[in-house]
């Protein structure tokens, strides 16, 4: 290194330590130079690394996260999830009234936020029928507890006034902020911005916990979703049900001094005479699906923030109250698809090896001039668009296509017995072998070029037959090339999507095609992510093996 050269010419200090030109000890100076170089190298790499991390690694991490994420259930149904915790799913009996009430409230809020069908769909992946149950119930919720509302309003019309509720539940400081906003709005119109978000009075929340919680949720939901104000909208009937429950639960109002204390006390006194309302019965009346214990068990099983449900589904398994079990025989597809993807990829890898080995050998042993010419025949397909090659195969392999026409013309097959070579595994294997063959030939060729032909001659001169010389001498030397090519082809083929999609029909599709299906058609993104994660895991293991055997920096192109 040049620094060393400078150092050797430099002075030597008294202690015998070599000094650099600037008088520092050489060792230190060298270390510094090296640090600087290291930093320089790192700074050169850093922009790209950051770019790849953001544009490529982060998306993949995000996908991995989606495969376990289950936020939508606890976010959308928080009250239900909390109540379900107290229910013993193994008892075999329906959850208690509180769970139904919580579900009704959660669904009412979800319906306003337009989330009820989405959470229904999420749960429908696990239990068929939840989707329409939620949808159907969502439409009827606004009528649930109507009798109670009538009873309250009948007792005192003030209960029908939005203002009563705002004054009763709203926090005093929120009410002030709201009044100030209303004044601003009267002056400035829309420029006043949105109404301050509703806050409940902690005192009333301690006294009437269910009412305060649900009324606040109602107020915020109509503020954010519809741009309405709680000062103008009377609450949902289900809010009256919450009040009914708080009051009949024996709320101690004797020391309450807030607004409308008398109204509240009057209501508390009248509540025992109100018609009995059971949300559970009302929900069962809307749809007897609510009486299905197995459905409630499913909701409880999938109420966590994270779930292994998608991974289980990706492996044809499901959760049951007794643990994890395989799904019914006639619904199993993914294991079979993974298995098929694996088998077809192995088949394609072998096919490319069988076809690629002789070609690579010929290329490596021909004079350079001829070899270069023939190499073009390998490189041209490599550079040609994947879609061009796939369309070529589609044209060739069709029943009315070129190959069948040719075979009929030669007379090998009759016109009505044309071969079916497309939309099945045959089509996928032929087309993919063709497409991936260059990826086998090129690594093989680069390894074979390094094997001196004299080895074979030496073996033969020592009495080996052609076959022995090849099998005992040449072949072992070409194994690194086989390894490199095989892993590369295998990695590429297990993730293939386009070609199987276009020529694979039903028996020639890969796991990738199912991933695409779940992303764009069935919208089960969690399952798509789980399937993708499993595939990714398999590829990364192979990648690691490849790195071990060949070394990433030894990959060559063209």
């Amino acid at each position: 290194m040049s620094d060393t050269t400078t150092g050797q010419g430099g002075p030597v200090s008294a202690g015998g330590v070599m000094l650099a030109a600037d008088g520092r000890p050489l060792k230190q100076s060298l270390a510094r130079a090296q640090r600087r170089q290291r930093l320089r190298a790192f700074l050169l790499v850093a922009p790209l690394l950051a770019f790849v991390l953001i544009a490529f690694v982060a998306p993949i991490a995000d996908m991995l996260f989606r495969s376990v994420e289950n936020e939508i259930v606890p976010e959308t149904l928080p009250r239900t999830v909390a109540e379900l915790r107290r229910w013993d799913e193994r008892s075999g009996s329906l959850p208690p009234q509180e769970v139904f009430v919580a579900m009704a409230r959660d669904l009412q809020l979800a319906e306003t936020r337009k989330l009820h069908t989405r959470v229904g769909q999420r749960l429908n992946y696990e239990y068929t029928g939840v989707s329409s149950l939620f949808r159907k119930t969502g439409r009827r919720l606004s009528r649930m507890g109507r009798e109670l509302k009538q009873a309250f309003v009948g007792l005192d019309p003030a209960w029908g006034e939005p203002a009563t509720w705002v004054e009763l539940i709203g926090a005093p400081d929120w009410r002030e902020a709201q009044a100030a906003w209303a004044a601003r709005r009267a002056r400035a119109g829309a420029d006043a911005g949105p109404e301050p978000l509703f806050r409940a009075d902690p005192a009333i929340a301690a006294l009437l916990p269910q009412t305060a919680d649900f009324y606040a949720a109602f107020a915020r939901a109509i503020q954010t979703e519809d741009g309405d104000s709680p000062t103008e909208e009377a609450p949902w009937p289900l809010v009256y049900d919450a009040l009914y429950r708080d009051l009949s639960g024996g709320a101690d109002l004797s020391r309450h001094t807030g607004p409308h204390a008398d109204l509240l006390r009057a209501a508390a006194a009248a509540v025992p005479g109100f018609p009995p309302v059971s949300i559970r019965d009302e929900m069962l009346k809307v749809d007897d699906g609510w009486g299905d214990v197995a459905m409630w068990q499913t909701i409880k099983a999938y109420s966590g923030r994270f779930t292994n449900g998608y991974f289980l589904a990706a492996l044809d398994m499901k959760k049951t109250p007794d643990g994890i079990a395989m799904v019914e025989e006639n619904r199993r597809i993914y294991l079979m698809l993974f298995w098929r993807t694996l088998l077809l990829s192995v088949g394609i890898t072998l096919a490319t090896l069988v076809l690629g080995y002789p070609v690579a050998w010929l290329l490596a042993n021909l004079p350079a001039r001829h070899a270069n010419l023939l190499l073009i025949l390998v490189l041209l397909p490599f550079w040609t668009s994947l879609l061009v090659r796939t369309s070529a195969w589609k044209v060739l392999l069709q029943q009315q296509g070129v190959i069948n026409d040719l075979l009929v013309w030669i007379g090998l097959i009759s016109d009505d017995a044309r071969l079916v070579m497309i939309n099945n595994q045959t089509g996928t294997i032929i087309a993919m072998t063709h497409i991936l063959l260059p990826f086998m030939v090129l690594p093989l060729y680069s390894v074979m070029k390094t094997i001196p032909p004299s080895y074979l001659r030496a073996a033969k001169s020592l009495g080996a037959t052609n076959w022995t010389a090849f099998w005992r001498v040449y072949f072992p030397l070409s194994v690194p090339g086989i390894g490199a090519g095989a892993i590369l082809v295998f990695i590429l083929s297990i993730g293939y999507y386009i070609t199987p999609e276009l020529v694979g029909g039903t028996s020639g599709i890969f796991i990738s095609n199912r991933i695409a299906y779940h992303i764009s058609i069935s919208l089960n993104w969690g399952l798509a992510a789980a399937l993708g994660s499993i595939l990714l895991f398999a590829v990364l293991i192979l990648y690691w093996t490849y790195d071990r055997i060949v070394g990433i920096d030894n990959v060559k192109l063209g």
Binding site: Q37, R40, P47, R66, T384, S385, V388, A392, L557
Partner: protein, 283 residues
């Protein structure tokens, strides 16, 4: 490889038999690509040789599929999109990739192997997984369905090729040249552009061509990350193939084969130049 005069008949048969087999494999490699070229001049809307074509009747051939390609606004828009996306993606991958390859070829680079593995991974990770991940993630950050989303995605996919080709040229790069330049008073930027760049240029250009063709041919990622405004040529071909193979696709395919041939020739010339520069024999 020539056959010695004392070869036995069996060896003779094997020798020629082997060549025939290899010939057939080469035929398998090249024939599907060649066969679509005459078919693209078919005067009918068929995907097979009509009797007229086989009889070399000039009336059986026509340019109508090419006229459709060049006259149809859908195909033209797709071509324009491909042409606006691929170069910008290539520029990004080459810019970042070349710098990084220079850094990576420095023996002082920490975590070299790990970083290399990360940078090469876009080539290894199945496209459908990259596409799915980008679709979800770019949706979150507002890039899904935008021009820049597709460009970034394609740039990421092109990076491994730039890294690989540029690192390969740097293996033969004599570092004493940069030191010589430095000792003669050149600053690092001048050294880079006047000394290092011309020498590694063949690698950079072939990396760029690989990155370009990656973006230009890519369909899976753009299918998910893009929207109608970014419909590229391969995307339009994919739609065509999935629904109905109109013969226009064969005309497009022929044009793309010509592009491939042009690129192949350029890369081959560059490789030879680079080897000459590095004093290696041309093969």
């Amino acid at each position: 490889m020539s056959l010695p005069a004392y070869a036995t008949p069996l060896q003779r048969i094997w020798h020629y038999g082997f060549r025939v087999i290899c010939g057939l494999i080469f035929f398998f490699l090249i024939a599907p690509i060649i066969v679509i070229i005459p078919l693209s001049f078919n005067a009918e809307d068929f995907f097979t040789f009509t009797p007229g074509m086989l009889a070399l009747d000039p009336d059986a051939y026509s340019l109508k599929h090419y006229r459709d390609f060049f006259g149809n606004p859908d195909w033209q828009q797709a071509l324009r999109n491909s042409i606006t996306i691929a170069p910008v993606a290539t520029l990004l991958s080459v810019g970042f990739g070349t710098l990084a390859a220079i850094g990576l070829s420095d023996s002082n680079m920490p975590f070299r192997r790990t970083i290399m593995a990360v940078l090469i991974s876009p080539m290894i990770v199945p496209l459908i997984i990259s596409a799915a991940g980008m679709y979800f993630f770019y949706s979150r950050i507002g890039l899904q369905g935008t021009y820049w989303g597709v460009v970034l995605a394609h740039a990421a996919l092109g990076i491994p090729f730039v890294i690989i080709t540029v690192t390969a040229t740097l293996v033969g790069f004599d570092r004493s040249l940069t030191r010589a330049a430095a000792s003669l008073g050149a600053g690092p930027i001048t050294t880079f552009f006047r000394v290092q760049m011309p020498l590694i240029l063949p690698g950079v250009i072939s990396g760029a061509l690989f990155a370009f063709i990656t973006s230009f041919d890519e369909v899976v990622v753009v299918l998910f990350v893009g929207s109608a405004g970014q419909k590229t040529l391969p995307w339009q071909m994919f739609i065509g193939l999935r629904e109905q193979i109109s013969p226009t696709i064969l005309a497009v395919a022929t044009v793309l084969v010509c592009v491939a041939i042009a690129l192949l020739v350029v890369v081959e010339l560059l490789r030879r130049r680079s080897e000459r520069l590095r004093g290696m024999s041309p093969s």
